[in-house]
Subunit: 110 residues, 2 copies
């Protein structure tokens, strides 16, 4: 079973099941993982706000979870998802819309 760290969290990577693109990285506590499994929608735990949230609860841009993969040491998961709308709160299709090159953040061609 997944293992939670000293802060009660594990790392979650949401991947578009269609294109294979990494959409976002966020963290789950035990409740977030349980809710994700119960509802089929990705839930996370916000470290900054200190609360559980469902991705898309305000924007409507939910992530439908098709499969949950667990890594060798069981402290990270990959969620294969079908995104409804852009996955990033900025409106970008995913959160990784910039690249680091020569110490600068540059737009990434997608």
């Amino acid at each position: 079973m997944p293992k939670f760290d000293a802060n009660g969290l594990l790392t979650g990577v949401a991947v578009d099941i269609a294109g294979g693109e990494v959409l976002m990285v966020a963290y789950l506590n035990e409740e977030a993982l349980a809710k994700t499994q119960e509802t089929g929608f990705a839930h996370f735990y916000s470290r900054s706000r200190g609360k559980l949230w469902m991705k898309g609860e305000t924007s409507g841009h939910v992530l439908r979870v098709q499969e949950i993969l667990v890594d060798c040491d069981q402290d990270a998961i990959v969620m294969k998802v079908v995104p409804e709308g852009p996955a990033c709160h900025t409106g970008a299709p995913n959160c990784f819309y910039r690249k680091l090159e020569n110490g600068r953040l540059l737009p990434r061609s997608q």
Copy 2:
């Protein structure tokens, strides 16, 4: 620029540039990120061992980093890599070789 959390770390997701598969998730401190950029090989910071390491330093299964993507809030990166050999220390092609289904960890068909 990437931002490091209270523990001086950011989350790193290594993705196979060819197949798009998530290979592994690990953490980087500032030195690990600098070494990754300098050498072109993925470096991480081991939270359990409390030290910098180069992925593959003992196994030879290095990850050649082609591109580093940074997320919206700059505390997670995706490294697009060319893996030399299996990425997981278990010998699996990647660390996500099991799926979570009905509360059980099952082998995943890849």
